[in-house]
Symmetry: C2
Amino acid sequence: MIMQKTAILHIQEYPYCIVTGPDALTLRIRAAKDDIDQAFICFKNLYDHTSEFQKVEMKRILASALFDVYEATIKVPLKHFKYYFELIFGSAKMYYTSDGFLEIVAPENCFYYPNINSDEILALPKWAEGETIYQVLVDRFFDSDPSNNPPQTKPCKAIPDRNTYYGGDFGGIIAKLDYLASYGVGIIYLSPVLKSPSYHKYDVEDYYTIESIYGGKEKLRELTEEAHKRGMKVILDGVYGHCSCEHEFFRDLCEKNEKSPYRNWFEVYDFPVSVEKGNYNTFANVVPIMPKLNTANNEVIAYFAKQGAYWAKYLDIDGYRLDVADEISHTFWRQFRLSLEAVKKDALLLGEIWNQPTQWLKPGELHSATNYKFRQYTLALARNEIGTKKYASLIEEHLMTTSTMQQNYLASLLGSHDTLRLANEIPERKTRFLIMKLMLLMPGMPLIYYGDEISLAGGKDPDNRRAMDWNHMLTKEETEFREAAMFRKKSEILKKGSLNFLTSEEGLLVFTRELAAEELIVIANFTDVSMDYEIEDEYKLVLGKIATIPGKIRLDAKEIAVLQMDKANNTLEKIKRREKG
Amino acid sequence: MIMQKTAILHIQEYPYCIVTGPDALTLRIRAAKDDIDQAFICFKNLYDHTSEFQKVEMKRILASALFDVYEATIKVPLKHFKYYFELIFGSAKMYYTSDGFLEIVAPENCFYYPNINSDEILALPKWAEGETIYQVLVDRFFDSDPSNNPPQTKPCKAIPDRNTYYGGDFGGIIAKLDYLASYGVGIIYLSPVLKSPSYHKYDVEDYYTIESIYGGKEKLRELTEEAHKRGMKVILDGVYGHCSCEHEFFRDLCEKNEKSPYRNWFEVYDFPVSVEKGNYNTFANVVPIMPKLNTANNEVIAYFAKQGAYWAKYLDIDGYRLDVADEISHTFWRQFRLSLEAVKKDALLLGEIWNQPTQWLKPGELHSATNYKFRQYTLALARNEIGTKKYASLIEEHLMTTSTMQQNYLASLLGSHDTLRLANEIPERKTRFLIMKLMLLMPGMPLIYYGDEISLAGGKDPDNRRAMDWNHMLTKEETEFREAAMFRKKSEILKKGSLNFLTSEEGLLVFTRELAAEELIVIANFTDVSMDYEIEDEYKLVLGKIATIPGKIRLDAKEIAVLQMDKANNTLEKIKRREKG
């Protein structure tokens, strides 16, 4: 019996080696799928030359079509570590060390983690774990006060163009807080609220002025107060990758050129700087009205670190969604976080990241990221481009790119102001709400783009940003989605539980969510016919609709159901399921 | 034909993804040994939705018994990247993407490197590449001025204990600069020079006073001036993990306890603080006279960042060897470097690191590390615990943990003040000098611990720190070592060239060093009998001793030879050698 040595991976790097406490290291090792039977960490203090190594078994926490990932946390009170892995396959045993595979391990063969420093501990705002986020485009949500509308405001039924205003404002959001509460929303994420020449406000003209057309800073403070009263948090959209060409610093640069104190705040290709020529770096390289900020410049970093903290304190907001977070320097994020935490210890930093988020989710940087890979894989599943087994494998491999602690912090989404509307991506209602409910039942912070809950349609930008329809009557699927959202709101296990896919028939997606002694099983039928799932455990149906047949449950096409398992009584059955898995 | 998919590794992390220029990314992919035939990177600007992907072939740069590592550098002038890998095996082709293995790649499947920020560019002091370092314990080297000796100074022939002083001083090093030049030394690395109650001075009492018993700050400045005149650089030992319990900050803490402004500069377990009780964290957990500094504390960081820069400027030194670098916070190193570079752009930061250096060698942190793994593997080879093939594989896997740019910056060593003397580790002279010469011919910055060049003996600390013997007469091997050191001094290819092991007979170690159009072949015979190596290329013997036989060269036992190849004429032959490899 030969182990697949080349598949074994351990690096002393997030997420394979993470400091998760003052004296705790969480370690992972990856192996080929079903290749090893058990994995252990053997460890002790780096400076301990006499004691035996301690030994802890690792748990298989992720499993894709190619890989198993094992994890365990080790503690050494004096914070100096040496460790190696013991891998069991069949009746054989092998050690994995900093010198590769060995049959006998000497101290110098160990991996060393020489010391834990307090700046490298992974810390997360506990309140945010698993909460449902609702994304509001302020202008498009609800107009509570026509007196502050700009003159060019249009009626809400018009299809938007790139200059349309509908008059939405902070008062409108306050008026609709009970609506948001009816979806179990935990976090309201507002589109940019700082003074800006555009309706979307992703081109900020003044980082120290809240838009008057939305109601100004006092109204925004009222919004956070009212949200807090209802147990909801508020996060703002922090736009630091670029500003408006109308920003005074950029105007100073256009005027004084080489002599401007802001010369190195931007990336100028040649002088004189000109918006017409666009001879400087911009958002997406092609938008001269949005000059790109040089976020590796220490002056820029200091300015925005202070600004972010200023509004967090003044407005009592609970964190930021961070625009183009993956284009901004790591130095910027580390400083921004330190500055923010000095005024608001538990503030959430959620970065807009379109691909693997690994680089930005490390200790001291962002807590969380938009999970666009969830959208990519889930749309592919909904469209039958991939099957349920491939889907489970892709989700697991994506989870391999972040820490276990952060799994319930990734913002799973199916649409945003930067994508087609979900109603346009997946026009078929039952399938669309199947994946909307799936988003609520999977790990992460489900992120609802305003209006998706009522099937708001829209093609490419700017059509994907239509006004909210407040006269809509909920369909059956939309009502079920709201019920599922409220179910999630009350479920600690959905917010904080782990994920375990159970191998199943192609077309059925089955997974558990587990937390301490509790267990839920989620079963979704992605086929066009009813499907049976064998189950001998004792269970209680807690969400969805099933037919029961002895030893089986039956789901109609495109249905999803949640069963609460009697974990204490089902241990054997569970082991059996795992073995099938 | 099936590729070993589970062996394929690419992470967006040092050293698999490194920013090596303002618009350049250097990417690696790892595959199972001899599994794939070719690897390409397909790439373009992240925001470019119209052009074709560009394609560049990757070069196999490292190869161990288990893995091949391929590398290439890609450039996108606007600094936003998307890319994927094309892998060729036999007549088949496969793409490796952020979604795993695919047969067709859509833009969202690519890996994204969304933007290069200037703070993440890997930058190295060019002058240091491949230079020979000579480690001096100041007290043990040469006493030029008995008037500054402490009263307890002993004669140099005494075996040292932990309180022995021999009177060595800066003037003594100045007096011996020509000696150091005769070994081609490029960098003189001095043991700690700041005021301290011990002879070794790793417990600093005052970070702003240079030891008077060594001659004080003016004499040290004279030393750097004199060294610079001879083209040699000087680096100091920066000791920031701990200080002396006599340091005023720690004394203040012992006096004022909770009320001391230095309360958070150290890690106190309980109050009152007491050196007798040792109720605080210390160097190695067990040395109360060396209280451990809290290097994640911003005040500590600011104090030492300023101090490091102060002496660099005042003394005109060229960098630091950094004590217990792997126990000090990453925030500390980033700030220390910024502060140092503000006064000395090209200063070298070489960390004391005993295991894999990956975590500390990233852009913005340290440039280089002590390579104790080189020592571990080379001693094992010298003792026949491993063979030459295993040795080559271990060296290659170790090089996989750092960037290609830094290969010639790793400080290869065979002994230091923290190990047994090499003469005690490997008493047999021929073998000892074989590996001493090997150290000079391999990539890296060879680090000579004072006296190893003259076979100075010594057991465990403090015996490994005997006084330098200035009356020693060089043996044949020692003379050859000095010649080899001078050969290296003049060889750009040894300082800057790449490494390529050639598969060979067990017992023979054969590798090339290559730089642009130049190539050297190094052949070392680790057996106890003479060995032949087949070679049909045209070559010139440039170091060592061989017997020539048609189509072969013959090396005596424990001999090492360097051949300069006529690269232009040997292309075909080289390809043939590679194929055998």
